[in-house]
């Protein structure tokens, strides 16, 4: 085995793989943000809180109703997506013609309220959620021990990310969505209910956050603070990828996960800041982000 800067290839491959796992969460979350920003022009600051709610719904399904992980993976995004639909219908839709800033403030306020409620009810230490029995254990890859559950997270999030990208860029429904962003009045004139489409898009973006939440539940503590811990990084990912760029957020999510993973090997103290350094550099060189189209 070779060595690179004093780090064995074993350790390096392990770290790359872990970076990829974390990148999967960044990608899932930033994808939802990008979809919402692309279609609604809203910077959804409560995305982290909705991710947390997704995880809590899974926990509640298990502990109050005895419904396990696999059903939670379907039910929690639906339930959380419905919350999103309500938020859009009753609050965000009223701000549609105002400056972005109002949407940002509203969603930021909602995030604080959601987190406060859950912290009041469940405390800040988090609650345990077990890995589903089908996915316990792991595989020894030679250079590292890969827990089956983490492998599942990578695979599943890749499928979800690419599926979303395909649906928006290559299907008829996706083309309606993209058209409605460009010129809502014209699309409305073709007999498509643009208002409903926007509401459902928001609900879908929120459901993506909830899927990430359910995936995260067995890995981290189900914790009221889990959203605020990750959301800032996810925003950086979206900015680096280019606001509103679907593919950009997926690719950037995975790439930054790896960049962060490598920093953890070479200079751990900087691992919580490296993404922001990259963000600053990208903003200086390409203000619209790596995949963003200039406006």
């Amino acid at each position: 085995m070779f060595e690179l800067l004093g780090i064995s290839s074993q350790a390096l491959f392990g770290q790359l793989l872990i970076g990829l796992i974390n990148g999967a969460f960044y990608a899932m979350l930033s994808l939802g943000l990008a979809v919402i920003f692309g279609m609604l022009n809203i910077i959804n600051f409560c995305h982290g809180a909705l991710y947390m709610i997704g995880a809590f719904v899974a926990w509640m399904l298990l502990n109050y109703l005895g419904i396990g992980y696999w059903w939670a993976l379907i039910l929690s995004p639906i339930a959380t997506g419905l919350v999103g639909v309500l938020i859009e219908r009753f609050m965000l839709s009223r701000l549609r013609d105002l400056d972005h800033l109002y949407g940002l403030l509203l969603t930021f306020g909602l995030a604080l309220i959601f987190e406060g409620i859950f912290r009041q009810k469940f405390g800040s230490s988090g609650l345990p959620y077990r890995i589903p029995p089908e996915l316990t254990g792991g595989t020894n890859l030679g250079f590292m021990f890969l827990p089956n559950y983490r492998a599942w997270v990578i695979a599943f999030s890749l499928v979800v990310c690419l599926g979303t990208w395909y649906a928006i860029e290559h299907t008829r429904l996706g083309s309606y969505l993209r058209a409605a962003t460009e010129n809502p009045a014209l699309v409305q004139a073709f007999g498509i209910n643009v208002s409903r489409m926007i509401t459902l898009t928001y609900g879908f973006g929120v459901a993506l956050a909830a899927i990430a939440g359910v995936l995260a539940a067995p890995i981290y503590q189900v914790n009221p603070l889990m959203g605020s811990n990750i959301i800032i990084v996810v925003f950086a990912v979206v900015v680096i990828g280019g606001m509103g760029s679907i593919l950009g957020s997926i690719v950037t999510g995975f790439t930054l996960g790896i960049a962060e993973g490598l920093t953890k090997v070479f200079y751990p103290e900087a691992s919580s800041t490296v993404i922001f350094v990259i963000m600053a550099i990208v903003l200086l060189i390409r203000p619209t982000g790596l995949f963003g189209r200039g406006t």
Binding site: G19, S124, P128, R130, R150, Y220, I230
Partner: protein, 404 residues
């Protein structure tokens, strides 16, 4: 009897009636400030529960019956030293706070330690761990109550090395507390004949420890020392279980584990973990009674060592104020607190040393298996009780300027 005589007798009689009141504190109301992490990763270990503990202490001291008015306020330092320092200044300068309690997070505690000395108030720390508060940074105005890094390191470090864990790798929280805990543990490990193979400094409030755990695994150390706390510790322990690190034979030493962490992890994951704790609710009838009252006011969550420390320190403080009969001179009250032995129903008997260290017996515990836990929060098996004289750093070794 002349009128004069009658009046004199009446006056004497009234004086006698009022005498007990004169023997007690009758000054202005006392104000306690619980400066804590009210919303972040340490909020369950200390936080709002510490306010509950302070209120229970005031109630049990019988302040109202003695005519003493004692108020409690809470503040959120958000784990930022600058935020904590400005709250402390405002409390002392404008809000009339006499004592600051709790203060989890060593960085904030060190800042409050300096301000308290400058203002000649009282700082009763239960939340922060750094042993520097009774070492080089000790002041005549600070008492360190429940636990500290030296105590944790000594209890857990010794026990692990004795079980054969003689090579260590550290995952250390990247700030004052982590450094102190790592340093104190390293000393114990080396003294007991073990060696330290390496370590990583991890930013506070890290989500994913798997990367660092793999580094620890690659080091082939027998013991991975977790010099972190709260959510960081629970995430490390979960990660180690998931990545098969503990199954592969490496042992985890949780250097600061609180009962709330065990609750958050669940016994399934936490079982078998050995660590040192300064207090356990299920020790005797008094502690059980306290825990029940506390839980009723704290959303069902049981008290940990920090809450017990806040309770015990408030009782002792109020006794000292009663004895000094004034709350004005912070250093004088702390001096009184050092002279009087501590005694309360929750932490039992103990003493406050010259360097400001409060001493009491501590416990080496093992987390129970799910099958062994018979009631809510029944989590610990006490392996050894370490007597107060051995549990804390010897007075001479701390380099505290107050010790001559």
């Amino acid at each position: 009897m002349t009128l004069i005589k009658k009046l004199a007798v009446a006056t004497a009689f009234m004086g006698a009636m009022a005498a007990p009141a004169f023997a007690q504190y009758s000054g202005p109301p006392i104000k306690l400030g619980v400066l804590s992490d009210m919303s972040g990763l340490y909020a369950d270990l200390a936080g709002p529960g510490s306010v509950v503990a302070a209120k229970l202490a005031i109630e049990d001291f019988g302040a109202a019956a003695k005519g003493m008015k004692v108020d409690v306020i809470g503040g959120d330092h958000q784990n930022k030293a600058d935020v904590g320092a400005s709250i402390a200044r405002q409390w002392y300068d404008q809000d009339g706070v006499d004592v600051i309690l709790d203060v989890p997070n060593s960085a904030v505690a060190l800042a409050v330690n300096d301000i308290t000395k400058e203002k000649n108030k009282v700082f009763l720390n239960s939340g922060a761990a750094t042993s520097d508060l009774t070492g080089p940074k000790c002041t005549p105005n600070t008492i360190h109550w429940a636990y500290d890094t030296w105590m944790l390191a000594n209890g857990t470090g010794k026990a692990m090395v004795k079980q054969g864990g003689d090579s260590w790798f550290f995952l250390t929280a990247d700030y004052a507390f982590g450094y102190a805990l790592e340093r104190d543990t390293m000393e114990v490990v080396k003294k007991e004949g073990g060696k330290v193979l390496g370590g990583v400094r991890v930013p506070l409030n890290n989500q994913d420890f798997s990367s660092f755990l793999l580094q620890a695994q690659a080091s082939k150390a027998k013991v991975i020392g977790l010099a972190n706390a709260g959510g960081d510790t629970t995430n490390s322990i979960k990660g180690a279980a998931e990545f098969g690190i503990t199954q592969a034979g490496q042992k985890l030493a949780g250097l600061l584990v609180d009962i709330n962490d065990v609750h958050g992890l669940g016994l399934q994951v936490a079982q078998g973990l050995t660590f040192t704790d300064a207090w356990y609710w299920d020790t005797n009838d008094d502690t059980r009674k306290f825990a029940a009252r506390f839980a009723a006011q704290n959303g069902g969550k049981y008290p940990g060592k920090i809450h017990a420390g806040v309770y015990s320190s408030v009782i002792h403080y109020l006794k000292a104020v009663e004895a000094v009969k004034s709350k004005a001179d912070g250093a004088a009250i702390v001096k009184k607190m050092k002279e009087m032995p501590t005694d309360d129903s929750v932490m039992g008997k103990g003493e406050v040393r010259q360097d400001g260290r409060k001493t009491h017996p501590v416990y080496l515990v093992e987390v129970k298996k799910p099958s062994e836990s018979k009631k809510p929060w029944d989590y610990y098996k006490v392996l050894t009780t370490i007597p107060a004289s051995e549990a804390f750093r010897p007075l001479k070794e701390g380099n505290c300027p107050l010790v001559n």
